[in-house]
Amino acid sequence: MTPAALSLEGVSCTFAARDGAPGFTAVRDVTLAVEAGEFVSVVGPTGCGKSTLLNMAAGLLAPSSGHVRAFGEPLAGLNRRAGYMFQAESLMPWRTALGNVMAGLSFRGAGEADARALAMQWLQRVGLAAFGDRYPHQLSGGMRKRVSLAQMLVLDPDIILMDEPFSALDIQTRQLMENEVLALWQGLSTTNAAMAEPAGARSAAPEQAGLGPSGAASAPSRAVRKAVLFITHDLDEAIAMSDRVVILSAGPASRVVGEFRIDLARPRDVAEVRSDPRFVELHKAIWDVLREQVLAGYQQQLAKA
């Protein structure tokens, strides 16, 4: 059996407090696996440690206990097979859109010309071919998110981590972006072979990323879709996009309290799928579990205030 693309095994995370006070436990004993090609969303009330979970998956944060594995291998430091799309602005403001998309490639040692060509291709794919020479402050919020998306996908990661990437966008832009992400994600699988053709540099990037023999070994599995771990507080978004929705309890010390398989047909349109009777059914079932947690989280916030 092939190992999951990403697995969190009984991870807990406790943040040390300053003056000897007991630390703050964000998540406790969470076990979660994302298969290769699977799109998993994590929903939960605010402050339940969703981002903490993602940071541990990325290797930006070491779990206090438990293990994180990427394709069966325990993480040491950063998760080199993952791309991360942040909630906040993450583009380098001193680089143009094109420069930002090129950044990862040049960090990993790709040649200037190759990186430029590949980055241009990806800017085209997210609809920003004409905006390559703009600086982030000259782009709209939605455009900046597209650049971030291209910046991550140009590196061809096997695992995609997204932390409420569209929460700052207005609802129309947001639905557009959601559909685009789904299309790219599905396109990545079906046209994978075709896409590998145009850029010789394409193969250079993952090799530079330190994917040793194991990366080569998983070559057959590269035909499948990328694994996605998507964090959101928006249940509609989670159901519309995912194969599976995982519910976290209210913090502190969040744990997994529910898991639902979303058996809606793909490809989906995130706006249309909402009127699907199955969607409504799933939404009700998940909301029944989530509501309790949201209320609990709200009570806690009131108590603290």
Partner: protein
């Protein structure tokens, strides 16, 4: 008629020039002996003795630049000192700021010393520098460096400390190693802070050069002023001050240009773009 003269955005420059002319006129009227009866001094000539006369000052400047053409050498020396002090101070401040911001332990150890050196009135070091480096260019540069260094240092230190953690995490996820982080994240972020302090630091480099010259030198505009002062030649002192002021304005304008060219990635308030 009043519609055209009324101060507004349009004729700002004209009004500034009018104000300058009025200042010179007042200066002229109040200092030329015998033009108005003396009211502050006991003698018609004293006003001119203490404040100089604008026409003589202009005449002096004209001689410096056109008739004798002997000020260029002094200006070049002062400029050279300013540029050296600015360059060395900036590089040292940048390096030190990056180092201390990235190694908190060193910063903690050096903290009281940095505070002490910053609090010290550093102009007082000028005599020591004169002893160490002689009366030539080096002692002026040293003084300028001590002034520039701290401005740049504190700005870089702050700049590195305030690098957005998200941008940093993102760069790491994109595969940047420590050196690449320094080169592509910390340094650009820090330089934006350096540029925001550029006007101040160029100004201070200039102050260092002139004060150094004034305290002891054989050339430079500060030296000209020092010499004139020795012979109570107020007109020449005033002329030196005018030249220095104009020169400082020119430097500032150049800095503004450079800043605008290099910081084009930064948003400017109310900026709109022609597509």
């Amino acid at each position: 008629m009043w519609r055209f003269i009324k101060p507004g955005r349009r004729n700002l420059r004209a009004w500034q020039l009018v104000l300058l002319a009025l200042l010179f006129l007042a200066w002229h009227v109040l200092t030329v002996p015998g033009l108005v009866p003396h009211f502050l001094f006991s003698d018609d000539n004293q006003a001119a003795f203490f404040f100089g006369q604008p026409l003589k000052v202009l005449d002096r400047i004209g001689h410096w630049f056109f008739v004798d053409a002997d000020i260029y050498r002094h200006l070049a020396v002062t400029l050279w000192e300013t540029v050296l002090a600015f360059g060395i101070g900036t590089v040292l401040g940048l390096g030190m700021g990056l180092w201390l911001a990235l190694s908190p332990l060193a910063a903690a150890i050096l903290d009281p010393y940095i505070k002490a050196m910053n609090a010290m009135p550093r102009v007082i070091l000028a005599p020591i520098f004169a002893v160490w480096f002689g009366l030539g260019v080096a002692s002026k540069v040293a003084l300028g460096v001590t002034l520039v260094f701290f401005i740049v240092f504190f700005n870089v230190y702050q700049g590195v400390k305030e690098v957005s953690p998200v941008i940093l995490a993102n760069a790491r996820m994109l595969g940047a190693n420590r050196r690449q982080l320094l080169r592509h994240v910390y340094l650009p972020s820090a330089t934006s802070w350096v540029f925001s302090s550029l006007h101040t630091s160029v100004g201070l480099a200039f102050v260092g050069a002139v004060v150094g010259e004034y305290l002891g030198s054989a050339q430079g505009v500060g030296y000209l002023i020092l010499q004139a002062e020795g012979s109570f030649d107020i007109d020449t002192v005033m002329a030196g001050i005018v030249v220095l002021t104009v020169f400082a304005l020119v430097l500032d304008a150049i800095v503004g240009r450079v800043e605008k060219a290099l910081m084009k990635w930064q948003p400017q308030a109310g900026e709109s773009e022609k597509v």
